[in-house]
């Protein structure tokens, strides 16, 4: 039976659109077969809880990659933001401290400030994004260590118990933060003028310039947003552990970038979706959780995760070979 050319093309398009979800479902199926305890509500909620900070960071990093850049500082910036948040979240022995809104704003501002520096260095200093954010990776980590004097800051106010561990309508509270973050990044990337500029710059910076896009200003905003999302992730992370730890976040940028690439974002720029990154983060979460349930050693897990990103980039080049 001959399949018409038109139908073949529709099949191809559908594959492209839904392949990431299919991969996620396939992985969940395999994990459940290997260990039936995987598919419990408790475990699935755990995956979401664990992966929320990474997913939120991935939303920001995705923005940078679509624009043709990258942000590898997020793993350190989350530590810096968490530590700064902790300083304001701390209550003294009598229970007095800053209102809840203060540490939250502090975290967002810390992330945003790091992003501002990244953005200005990249857009106006014309430093390649990899180098600029590599530098920030070190700087942010250093600042986190300086502020915290090398030790975790604990003693948060009561409110953080709820943010980190509480539930609302049977779902863990962090999931609502995750959903809100997703909706915000979806709107930014796919509904705003700014989002169009991001895709344009990633496709062809020269063409964007000629078409009247303010490339410099857009780039600065991209890294500020990436920083702010890292600040949001820091709030979730610090609330879960009820501490601001300067050592946290090592390797998170790898995880976040892999999530974006698995989700369909291309390093060549101009290609990617918010939803894809979301699914990509879930895939990484299922992978890590599954490996832990199968009692695979942490070191081996690192090898697997590294291999996954290489495979994902390989698949990306095969998928998106429009640039000759």
């Amino acid at each position: 039976m001959q399949i018409k050319i038109q139908d073949q093309n529709i099949f191809k398009k559908a594959m492209k659109k839904y392949s990431t979800i299919l991969i996620l479902l396939l992985m969940m199926l395999i994990m459940t077969i290997l260990n039936p305890k995987f598919l419990t509500i408790n475990n699935l909620m755990n995956i979401l809880r664990q992966q929320t900070p990474i997913a939120i960071m991935a939303f920001g990093v995705n923005l940078a990659i679509i624009s043709g850049g990258i942000d590898i500082s997020v793993g350190s910036v989350i530590a810096m933001a968490a530590v700064i948040l902790a300083k304001f979240a701390k209550v003294d022995s009598s229970g007095a401290g800053y209102p809840l809104i203060v540490p939250i704003i502090a975290s967002l501002l810390a992330g945003g400030a790091a992003g501002l520096v990244n953005g200005v260095v990249i857009a106006y200093g014309k430093v390649p994004p990899f180098i600029a954010t590599l530098g920030m990776m070190s700087v942010a980590r250093g600042i986190a260590l300086i502020i915290s004097k090398g030790r975790p800051i604990t003693g948060f106010s009561e409110a953080f118990n709820f943010i980190g561990g509480g539930s609302f309508l049977d779902l863990p509270f962090p999931i609502y933060i995750l959903l809100a973050s997703y909706l915000i990044i979806y709107a930014i990337l796919h509904l705003t003028k700014f989002g169009t500029y991001v895709f344009a710059i990633g496709s062809s910076q020269m063409a964007a310039e000629v078409s009247g896009v303010n490339v410099k200003r857009t780039k600065v905003l991209i890294y500020i947003i990436s920083g702010i999302f890292t600040g949001i992730a820091a709030i979730v992370l610090a609330s879960r552990t009820l501490s601001g730890q300067p050592a946290v976040g090592e390797g998170y940028e790898m995880n976040a970038i892999t999530a974006a690439i698995i989700g369909g974002t291309s390093f060549s720029g101009g290609i990617g979706t918010a939803f894809g990154t979301f699914i990509g983060a879930l895939i990484m979460g299922v992978l890590t959780n599954g490996m832990t349930m199968l009692q695979i050693e942490p070191a081996t897990q690192m090898v697997v995760r590294g291999s996954v990103i290489i495979l994902a980039v390989f698949a990306d080049q095969y998928r998106n070979n429009y640039k000759s």
Partner: protein, 370 residues
């Protein structure tokens, strides 16, 4: 080595990047000669060197000839051919026209051979009513690219810009559009002086620019036809933050119909379209900005004859509506068929203005090689 070819003023220890372009060229020539080859090919060797160094080069060539070496010398400077060459071969559109002895021919014959017999006009320009001056450029210059460029442009006019490759035409228009920074010069739009520091400013003042290289500075290859169409006019299709999607769909559909763009869906990647259709999308992009002045750089390069005629028709229709058009083109037939006036550019300078009535290929070519 350098002394052998008569260059005494370059210290061999200096870095190449610290030398002037002319001196760099002399080093290149020395390098070529150092290979002791029997046949030396020189491609526009005097492009960047001053006249006394040209004389030195000719001395070197004559010396090499005496040694029995053969030299192929590529140039568009006809005077040099008659000074140094024994024979001259003329090529046109990738085809060898003829080879003559330089002693039995002259400059005009060569020009005639370069121009050749013409193909019939693809589209004859309907003459639009020429209105007031809408653009005035005075003494525009850009470091190392072009100098002292002045011209005016009237409503309804198509100003053709002719010149050899590398003459600086695209650079002039890129500076006018704010892609390059000018060194000196004033720009007046409808009589008012304007300061254009970026394409954003240029678009604000009613300018539009269809670049020469649609693959690199025109199309957003991985993006849809729709985005490629509304990008330059995005502010007119949006609120403060959000893009009004429905309006972008309507505008794109309007353009697809008006320009007969062959595409199955406006969400298709523009990369999948033919060159001609891609070019039409870019024209649509700029039409949506409702410009008063449209600059097009090689608008029909690399597209089929049918699409070519359609693009020409579009440009003429714009002129009929009172818009002003600047058209850079390296195709003689196109320039002659479309322009009301032709501005010739050579080595970064404007060498002449030719009215359509008096324009011939030979005349244009002469000015382009001035």
């Amino acid at each position: 080595m350098l002394q052998r070819i008569g260059i005494n003023n370059i210290d061999p220890n200096t870095k190449i990047k610290d030398l002037s372009v002319a001196k760099q060229q002399m080093c290149e020539i020395a390098k070529a000669i150092s290979h002791n080859a029997a046949l030396i090919l020189m491609d526009e060797p005097t492009a960047a060197i001053p006249s006394n160094d040209v004389l030195t080069l000719f001395e070197i060539i004559r010396a090499l000839k005496k040694e029995g070496k053969t030299i192929i010398y590529v140039t568009h400077k006809l005077e040099e051919i008659f000074e140094i060459a024994d024979k001259v071969s003329v090529f046109r559109n990738g085809v060898h026209v003829d080879t003559l002895d330089t002693r039995t021919t002259n400059k005009d014959t060569l020009i005639q051979m370069m121009v050749g017999r013409d193909i019939v006009d693809l589209y004859a320009k309907e003459k639009a009513k020429i209105g007031d001056v809408v653009l005035q450029v005075e003494n525009l210059s850009c470091s190392k690219k072009f100098d002292n460029v002045s011209f005016t442009l009237k409503k309804g006019e198509i100003l053709g810009v002719a010149g050899l490759v590398g003459a600086g035409r695209s650079e002039i228009m890129e500076t006018l559009f704010g892609i390059r920074q000018k060194k000196t010069g004033k720009i007046f739009i409808s009589g008012k002086e304007v300061n254009i520091r970026s394409p954003r400013d240029a678009i604000k003042y009613g300018l539009a620019f269809l670049t020469e290289d649609r693959k690199n500075s025109g199309c957003f290859l991985p993006l849809s036809v729709r985005i490629n169409t509304y990008i330059a006019s995005i502010k007119q299709h949006s609120g403060r933050l959000f893009v009004r999607r429905k309006e972008t769909v309507e505008s794109t559909k309007r353009m697809i119909d008006a320009l007969s763009i062959k595409v199955s869906s406006m969400e298709d990647q523009i990369n999948n379209l033919s060159g001609g259709n891609q070019q039409k999308v870019l024209v649509a992009r700029w039409l949506l900005t409702e410009p008063e002045i449209l600059i097009v750089d090689e608008p029909t390069r690399g597209i089929d004859v049918g699409a070519k005629a359609e693009v020409h028709r579009l440009l003429v229709n714009l002129a009929l509506k009172g818009k002003a058009i600047i058209m850079i083109s390296s195709e003689m037939t196109e320039i002659l068929a479309m322009s009301d006036r032709i501005m010739t550019v050579s080595s970064g300078r404007v060498t002449g203005f030719i009215d359509a009535k008096e324009a011939t290929q030979e005349k244009i070519l002469k000015y382009c090689m001035d």
